[in-house]
């Protein structure tokens, strides 16, 4: 649902800027919060929907169990260390930003820390999905 308020906020910033001549930057900043959170969730949602792009002209001929095993190995060897690395490397800047309730550097509007939180949320959800995939097998929800 988040994409609808993002769309509305980015749409209204145009009349706000041209007609009201106020609040357009506030609308843009709020849209940025929502956008960051939306993307943070969307990456894992695409994994669950099996929507990621892949050049599988050859691999589509492999038996289903082989592809499932490949996906599980890739989750374990690639996404698990990558997400842990992002969580580790992003933590110092994120914790500082949240503790200070960091504002947007250009407009000084509050909530910039939410954008940084978006990166962490993204990595955390990837990690949780990996755990689910490894424990239960790659997602069951299909496109």
């Amino acid at each position: 649902m988040l994409v609808l308020p993002v769309s509305l906020l980015l749409f209204v910033q145009w009349p706000l800027r041209e007609l009201v001549q106020a609040y357009s930057r506030e609308a843009n900043d709020v849209a940025q919060w929502l956008f960051a959170l939306y993307v943070g969730i969307a990456v894992t949602y695409a994994t669950r929907r099996h929507s990621h792009l892949a050049a599988d002209a050859l691999a589509r001929r492999y038996p289903v169990p082989v592809r499932a095993r490949l996906a599980r190995i890739a989750s374990l060897l690639v996404l698990l260390p990558w997400s842990l690395f992002i969580l580790y490397a992003a933590w110092p800047a994120l914790s500082q930003s949240v503790l200070q309730l960091e504002s947007f550097p250009e407009t000084f509007n509050p909530g910039y820390f939410l954008i940084k939180l978006g990166v962490w949320l993204l990595a955390l959800l990837v990690l949780l999905q990996v755990v689910l995939d490894v424990l239960l097998g790659p997602g069951r929800e299909r496109d």
């Binding site: 993002v6 769309s7 980015l10 749409f11 145009w14 940025q32 949602y45 994994t47 929907r49 589509r60």
Partner: protein, 489 residues
């Protein structure tokens, strides 16, 4: 070992084809593997890799990228509302007398929808779902329908103001800034509008040729046979259908034109289009709650897939730079002989090879930042280079049997197509593509230039001399520098 980046690219291509794993996972996996080897061998500094979260943050606060889910939302709304079908029916009816109504309507739908999907992969998914059943019902042979979907899916690469063009404009801006800083040349830096406008005339010529090819195919014996097999239609579109289709067309074309001409920001236009379609769907009661859920799910899934690619590409590029491959490539290109055309043709060939396995987004984020800045040191006409890049990308996506669009369409279809038949169906489109590419290569004036851009940058026939280039390389990197390990070792 600066050439490690080339091995990384080769490994990505190999693993993508051999495993069929999602591209973003392969990009991250190869980056991890090479990073570990690089750190263990003392070639890569671990501290450099900790910049990755900051780079990912850059994606989440990029104004241009906010347009991405909004364009996808418009595409999903057009697809799930009866509008895409309505546009196709009205288009077929309008072009009925040409004898190629359904094919031309399909091409037109590609022109309208493909620029909004951002990715060739997403366009293929959407147009296969929207067009193939309708082309089948129109009696068009499978291979011709598939070829049409391949072509229509790649139109988003060249028709402004597609997301590919927006992001390429941004990548060209960065590349041009790097080249101008390196040469110290006084030049107005290219912007996204320059790329939009530069692509207009070549895209128009290409579209015209595609229309002629599509129309011409309907005049062949096979095309006539297909027309004979079309089941009789009980009634054409109603007056209300025509009015709705025209209103939709005016809104979409108006928004696309206003962005191309610089009256609206891409993000605002996408937001306006998305909001207008959403409100129209509610007002006309065509957007029921179940349909809205489907639209939102489609939008989030496609957005997630596209951002995953950007995340994979960002990780990959950082590793590539940590090995110093970008500077190595710069030194290689700067040292190439053959003047402007020598370096340009080498870069276009490399891009074409990469485009066999990578999507436009991956190319823009992974390959272009490495290859284009050194090319722009040699070739001063940035808009011309940008348009050539677009044309070569589109041609590569269409090249059977490994072209990205071709592979994706074959994957998506529920029935196999003989490669020979598909090649024959695509051949006229590829010839048209080649013709426009050669035309733009030979006549750079076909590309629109901002007056000051052209005068300040000079023409492509006034490059730096080889001696000047060697001096520049010496100043920038120092003797033997291309072999030196990156900073931080």
């Amino acid at each position: 070992m600066p050439s490690a980046g080339l091995w990384m690219l080769a490994t990505v291509a190999l693993l993508m084809i051999a495993t069929g794993l999602p591209t973003w996972i392969v990009l991250i996996g190869v980056s991890l593997l090479f990073s570990i080897v690089g750190i263990a061998g003392g070639l890569v500094d671990f501290a450099l890799l900790t910049a990755l979260p900051a780079r990912l943050l850059g994606l989440l606060e990029n104004d241009l990228l906010q347009a991405l889910p909004l364009y996808v939302l418009i595409g999903a709304l057009l697809n799930r509302l009866p509008l895409a079908e309505l546009l196709f029916r009205v288009g077929s009816s309008a072009a009925r007398r040409t004898g190629a109504g359904p094919s031309l309507a399909g091409l037109a739908l590609g022109v309208l929808l493909a620029p909004m999907n951002g990715s060739v992969g997403a366009s293929v998914a959407m147009l296969t779902r929207t067009l193939v059943p309708r082309l089948d019902a129109s009696g068009i042979p499978t291979e011709r329908g598939a070829a049409l979907v391949c072509v229509a899916s790649t139109l988003g690469v060249v028709v402004p103001p597609s997301l590919v063009l927006i992001l390429l404009g941004d990548a060209m801006l960065r590349a041009h800034t790097e080249a101008v800083n390196a040469t110290g040349r006084a030049a107005r830096i290219i912007n996204t509008q320059d790329v939009f406008r530069g692509a207009l005339l070549p895209a128009a010529i290409l579209l015209l040729l595609f229309v002629l090819v599509t129309w011409g195919e309907s005049k062949t014996p096979a095309g006539r046979e297909a027309q004979m097999s079309i089941p009789p239609v009980e009634s054409g579109p109603s007056r209300l259908d025509w009015m709705t289709a025209m209103a939709t067309l005016v809104i979409i074309v108006g928004l696309l034109a206003s962005v191309t001409l610089g009256y609206l920001y891409a993000v605002e236009a996408a937001a306006t289009g998305g909001t207008a379609l959403f409100v129209a769907g509610l007002a006309t009661r065509t957007l029921s709650y179940p349909k809205l859920k489907e639209v939102l799910r489609d939008t989030m899934a496609v957005t997630g897939a596209l951002f995953s690619l950007l995340i994979g590409a960002t990780t990959f590029t950082l590793t590539l730079r940590a090995f110093g491959t970008d500077r190595w490539a710069a030194a290689f290109l700067t040292g190439l002989g053959g003047g402007v055309y020598g370096a340009l043709l080498v870069v276009l060939l490399l891009l074409a090879l990469c485009a066999f396995v990578l999507d436009a987004f991956e190319l823009i984020f992974v390959v272009i930042p490495v290859l284009i800045p050194p090319l722009l040191v040699r070739v001063s006409d940035t808009t011309w280079v940008a348009v050539l890049v677009l044309l070569i990308l589109q041609a590569s996506f269409l090249m059977p049997p490994f072209g990205y669009s071709v592979m994706m369409v074959r994957n998506r279809l529920d029935r196999p197509i003989e490669t020979g038949k598909l090649v024959r169906a695509l051949a006229p489109y590829l010839l048209a593509q080649l013709l426009v590419l050669c035309l733009v290569l030979a006549v750079p004036r076909l590309v629109w230039h901002e007056g000051s851009t052209q005068s300040s940058q000079g023409s492509p026939s006034k490059p730096l001399s080889d001696k000047e280039l060697q001096e520049l390389l010496w100043q920038q990197l120092g003797p033997g520098e291309p072999e030196r390990a990156p900073e931080g070792k």
